[in-house]
Structure formats: C-alpha cells, structure tokens
Symmetry: C2
Subunit: 458 residues, 2 copies
C-alpha cells in the first residue's frame, strides 16, 4: 500500500503541474473515497481545494467524510456557501455530526446554516446526546414501516425513500406513537409473498439500545448478535435512530486502543499518532510517569531501611531487578488477561472466587517452575561459570523462596485489582495496570527483606 501511494503521489503532482485536470478527474473516479482522502491529505494543502473540486458531487461527499478534521476544516474555509451546501446535503446525519464535533464554533455555524432545516434539526438532536453514547453515534436516517401494509407496498416504499437511508437492509416497524414494535430484514421482505402483511412477516421484540447506552455496549450487542444495525429508542421505547455495524467496527477498534493505552500508562487521546503534536503526546504521557516516579518513594524507603543488611550481604542487591521484574511480569499477565476478559464481557465480579482460585493454582505452578529453574541457574551460571562466590546457598534459597511468594502474591493482586476496580466503578484498565507495578514492586521488596532477615538473622 505504502509504495503504491507514493507512486500515485508523484504521478498526481506531475499531472497537477501540467494542469491535466480531466485526467486527474478520471483517475479519482476509479478510486475508493478512503483512498482518495488519504492521497489528498499527502498533497500540499494549497492544492487541496482545487483537487477536491474535480470530484463529482457524491464522490466528493464520500471522500470528505474520510478525511481528517484538519483537512476538512481547510476545505470548508475555502468553500463557497453553495459548495458547502452541496457537500452537507450529501452527508448522512451521523457523519455530519462527527465532522461538526471536531470543528471550531464559527465553522459549525456555517455548516448548520447550509444544512436544510430537517437535517439541521437532526444534527442538533444527535449533538445533544452525551459523548460516547448510543445517541451520539446513531443516524436518524432509517427505514420505518407500518405493520398494516403489504410486503409489496413496503418494497415500493423502500424504493421510493430508500436512497437517503444509511441502510435499507433492516427495516423497523413502529406503531402510531412511533414506538418500536418489530423489525424485519430486507431479505425477509423480498423472500415473502407480496401480499403478506408486514405485521405477519416481522419479528417482534427486537433487540434495541437506548440513547444513553454506552457506545462500547452498543458495539458489543452488534457483534454478539451478528447484526448489521441496531435500533436506538428513547425512554418511552420510541424509535429515534439506528447504529450501523460500520460504526461498531470503529468503536471496537478505538476502545481496544484505549484499553491498550491505559495499560501502558498513557492518557487515551482519540487522534492518530502522526497527527499529534509533541506537546499533546507529552501531555498524554507525563501524568502517569510523574505519579509512578513519585510513588516509587515507597520502594526507595524499603531499600533504605535495609541499607545496612544490604551492605553486609552485597549479593542480595544484584537480585533486586530480577525479583521485581518477575513479580511485575507475573502480575501484569494476570491483570491483562482479566482486564481484557472484562472488556469482552467474558467475566464479571460474580466470578471473583472462581478466578482467584484459578489464578492461585496457575500462580503456584508458575512460581514453582520459576524457582526450580532459578535455583539451578544461580548455582550453575552465577556461581560456577561467572565465579560469583558471594552468592551463598542461603542467598540462593532466599532468592528462590522470595520468587515463589512474589509470583503468587503478584498474580493474586493482578487478578483482584481489576475486578475490584470494576466493582467499585473505576476503570479496570487504568486502576490496575500502571498501579500494579508500584504495588507489586513494594510487596516483592518487603517479602525479599523479610525472608532474608529470618534466614540470615541480621
């Protein structure tokens, strides 16, 4: 992909220089909107409006949707009112909302002014739902049918009105008060006898979400039930919109990214890496780095309090990184598994004891394996091969015993922390991952020095 694009870029630049606009237009017309958007973004900003104007109306709108907000803003600022209206008219409401959310107030005003009254009303409605809610990602352009018409009439209605709908493949049936009473796929409708009533064909009791449901939940439902769209209802069960599966894909991807970022002690930012400024990246990363650095005061204090013992048994110091890292790794394996399983809805707090019992057994197996290997590694590599004879058999035993305790404790903390965080309403990914290292480090060091004290009697 990367190389294709750069070849095209060069071709394009040559064509622009030579003012071969109709050739350019022909090239664009063979391409997909997402690819045109990517190409236009890599072109010098000054030529962007010129190139964009070459696109036919519908392709222009589809390409516009795929662009980053910086380029969208640049284009809008260059548009005449008539041009802006053409693009806005072609946009689906959910796409229009996505764009409006990223623009400064004066651009938003211009966009809303150019939208026709119906669309403006719909955009404003969707804008009013809380961020990341079903309402905020839904589109209000769906097919709704009455229960008392025939399949033939229903298909005629779809033929007449379908061109403006985001999907016509799932149709929703509503009663006189706009309440959602059923649904059917276009497949059901097409395969049914022409004179059967919609109410006979439809499935009752459709799966739906409410406007205030979290977008992650909505994506989960689309994925779980293999739906191409899910209806969104208000508190009175009135149908107000639908969320389609292409939006769910985006949500699932960005929620996974968020989880990954939180686990790596980064404040999630909804912006592609290359688009972020140095200062924005710094702002996303520095809070956790600072917090974790300062919280390491505890580990420092623990080591300080055993300073004299470490001075007498210097060999003990050299195992501190290994013990801390192994504890940390063991703990983050557990916490990561649990956090992901919570995200995917595989487990919840009611599985607490089952999970702890499972982790306890896994931890014990891991701990014994590690201690066993470590014992022979120390005696063979560190003592015999590397000739470090200050590592006595007592020190070896202390290290192996600490390893066992540290791995078991880390895995238990690693599984209990995210479950508890979830239970008390905190974000498992934030609470558990970055914090875990600090907790596990302190616990591992305490265990190490306690065990060392009782065996070496200092």
């Amino acid at each position: 992909m990367g190389e294709d694009t750069s070849v095209l870029e060069t071709t394009l630049e040559t064509l622009i220089e030579n003012k071969k606009y109709s050739t350019l237009r022909d090239i664009f017309m063979t391409m997909q909107p997402a690819d045109i958007a990517k190409l236009l973004e890599s072109i010098d900003g000054q030529k962007l409006p010129l190139l964009f104007r070459l696109l036919p109306k519908e392709l222009a709108a589809d390409t516009f949707v795929e662009m980053d907000s910086d380029e969208q803003e640049l284009l809008i600022r260059g548009f005449s009112d008539a041009e802006l209206k053409e693009v806005v008219d072609e946009l689906y409401v959910d796409d229009a909302v996505d764009i409006v959310e990223e623009m400064p107030a004066n651009v938003v005003k211009r966009i809303l002014k150019q939208a026709d009254p119906d669309k403006r009303k719909m955009i404003n409605e969707v804008l009013n739902y809380p961020e990341d809610s079903a309402g905020s990602i839904m589109t209000t352009e769906y097919v709704s049918l009455r229960p008392d018409i025939t399949a033939e009439d229903a298909i005629k209605r779809i033929r007449r009105t379908g061109v403006d709908k985001e999907t016509i493949y799932t149709c929703y049936v509503t009663d006189d008060n706009s309440r959602l009473i059923g649904y059917m796929t276009l497949k059901d409708l097409l395969l049914a006898d022409e004179d059967r009533l919609v109410s006979d064909i439809m499935g009752g009791d459709p799966i739906s979400v409410t406007t205030t449901d979290d977008q992650e939940e909505v994506a989960g439902i689309l994925s779980k039930y293999d739906l191409t769209a899910v209806p969104v209802v208000d508190k009175e069960n009135r149908l107000v919109g639908i969320v389609t599966v292409d939006d769910a894909l985006d949500v699932i991807e960005s929620e996974a990214t968020e989880d990954i970022e939180k686990m790596a002690a980064i404040t999630p930012v909804d912006k592609p890496y290359l688009k972020m400024t140095t200062l924005e990246i710094w702002k996303a990363r520095i809070p956790w780095l600072l917090f974790l650095m300062v919280s390491a005061t505890f580990t420092g204090m623990i080591i300080s309090s055993f300073e004299s013992a470490l001075a007498r048994f210097a060999a003990l110091t050299s195992f501190i990184p290994m013990l801390m890292d192994t504890g940390g790794n063991a703990g983050s394996q557990s916490s990561t598994t649990i956090i992901r399983a919570i995200s995917l809805g595989e487990i919840d707090f009611s599985d607490f004891f089952r999970i702890v019992w499972k982790e306890l057994r896994v931890a014990f197996l891991c701990a014994v394996t590690l201690a066993f290997v470590n014992f022979f590694k120390i005696r063979l590599v560190d003592v015999t091969i590397l000739g470090n004879h200050s590592i006595t058999i007592e020190v070896t035993l202390i290290v192996c015993l600490t390893l066992i305790c540290a791995v078991v404790v880390s895995k238990l903390v690693g599984c209990m922390l995210p479950l508890t965080a979830k239970r008390i309403g905190f974000d498992p990914a934030v609470m558990a991952s970055p914090l875990l290292t600090t907790i596990v480090d302190a616990l591992t060091l305490l265990l190490y020095f306690k065990i060392a004290t009782s065996i070496l009697h200092f």
Copy 2:
C-alpha cells in the same frame, strides 16, 4: 446481564425438574440464539441434549453455532444421524468450517458424512486454505449475477435462491469464466429501473481480496471501506467466496486481544479465560516468565560489578527501582503507541525518521519534567521530611541526570524496536514489549553507574 442470567437459570432448572417442556420451548422461542447458547452452557451437561431438542430446527442450528466447541462436541456425540443432518443442513459453510476445525477426527467424519455432497465439497475446499487466511474464514454462499440480465430478473433470481445465502445485500457480477467483473448492492438494484441491465447498474473494479490474504488485512479492508462484505478471488480472479462484516468484527476483536496478550508477555491462546484449564494458562504464561527471569542475569551482573561502589554510597541502591521503573514506563509508552499504530495501519517503516524525531522531542520534554520534579521531591521529601541525609546533593544530581538519559534512551529504543521488528518480519508486539523491559533495565543501570562513577570518582 449477569444477574438476569442467573435468575433465568434458576427458573429453567425448576421447569426442567417439573418437566414443563412446552413452557421451556416457549421461553426459548422469545430469546436470541447467542443468549440461549450462553444459558445452555451454564446448565448441567446431562440435560443439554434434552433441552437442545426442544428448539425448533432453525433456532437449533443458530444456537448450535453460538455454543463453545466442548458443548458442540457433547451434543454431536448424542445426536442421531438424522438429527445431525438437520443441524448441518441449516449451517452456513463458514460456520460449519469453524465447528469442524475444533472437533476430533471421528466427529468430523460423522459431520461430513451427514452434509449433502455440495456442502461437503465446499466445506472441504475452505478447510484446505491456510489458517487465518481469507479463504479459511470465507463463506461460499453468495449471490452471483450475470451482467446481461435485467434488474427485474436479478431480483427474481435473488428471491428464488437468496434463502440459502449468507448475505443478499451485496451481489457480485461474474463473466462466463466465473471471473469477478463487478458488484452492486441490493439497494442499487432495488432503486434502479426494472428493465435496466445488471451491467449498466453495477460498479466495476470491485475491491476484493485473494484466498491467501491474512484475515487481519481482510478485516482492515472491510473496516476501511465500510463494506458489509468483501469478495474473495483466486489467483485467476475467479470469485470463490465472500467474507462478511460480522466475521470481521470477530477478527478485529481477537487480533486486539492477541496484541494485548503479547504485550503482556503471554502466548496468545484463542480460548475464553474461564474455559482454559490451569495447565493451559500455565503453558501460555511460563515461557516468557522464564525467559525474562533468566535474561535478568545481565542486570544482576551489572549490579555485581558495582558492588563495592554501592557499598560505599549506599544511598544509590535505594533509587534503583525508581530509575528502572521510570525507564520501563517511558519505554513501554512509546512501544505501545507505535505497536498499536502499526496494527491499525497508521504508520509503517517509511515513517521511521519522522517517528524517531517526534519521540526524541517528546522524550526530552518528559525527561526534563521528571528530573525537575524529582530533584525537588528528593530534597524535600527524602532528605528534609524523611531525614535521609546520606542522599547528598551529588547523589541527587546523579539520579536526576540518569533519569534524563534513561527516559530519552528508553523512548528511543521503545519506538525503534517495534518498527525494526516489523521491518525484518518479526511480530512487533512480541519482539518489542516483553523484550523492551529487559533491554531498558540493563541500559538504565549502565547509565546510572557510568554517571555515578564519573561524578563520585570511585
């Protein structure tokens, strides 16, 4: 969800005890297949076949698809040949393949024997594609149309044959040699004049994937171009199947899980957490734990070689955990960001220098902030409040200088490692994340002792 299910479970168990089978059947018929499957899995295995037989034919097949392979196997073993045939007949090819892949050989034989010859051939074809390829996740049940028929005839054809197709919403146009020459949505077809030819309505040059493409790429294409299905062609551009968007959702979710697991030093396993045995979890976790533990020999060696210096300046030891952790956190922030951006296709190796330059600036900002805060934290908290007067101003400067160097080096290694891994064909997530800690630990310690040596002159 969790509580709803357990209430239902109790109700169900009571109904089973009282042999209220028609009530049970009525309850099931109001439920979604995915929910019935989850419910049946939580029921005692002995009663599973009995309950499953209550389901009407089509609901039974849909529920069967949603179950875990253990329960599927249990059911198949209990099925008569006629019952097995009924379920197999209702399955789409891609679902049948998913099931067959998880079953032991003798069960596979029985399934294939009950499938009708056409379906058996299709299942066998799909089974032959490499794991995780487009061919292995595609279905062979799609709508294909000839270019020379009218819209009206096309719709008639879909009405006649559509009931067995996984999706009828995108139709593919093929020539006499089955070569893919165009596509159209059912929406295009329905909204077109009845006597227009398919060749006039269709879009040419459809986006397609080949049978050997990786499933992650396929999911990426479905997501990027907002498609509900993508055609799969062989090397001669003959249409052999389609991949639908519901499969892409599963792929995106499981690939994200895999990345997350690899970053946490876990060998990815494609099985829900609660279904894994203790031994399976141990097997997924122990390799990296062992490798990372043994590779910590280096950090141990570094510390050992500075043993005498550490004994003289004991305060230095207490800062080892903080320095290692901060380096590790700073590095994993960068590596995680880069790994995720690679996964999402936002960046590739050609962005190397742009990324390194960006990370360098971010690293410098982070490093200076951390060192500044750390200086005052040490003088104020550690020295003044905690009264640890062995921390001299020289030691403070050494720690802050090390912090700056360690953060910059860690962030650079953190961004270069995954990019390089990707370039030379290794998995960025595996290569970069677990290995990073080991590398960063060693580098941080080396920097610490070098800086300490040159300032304290030991």
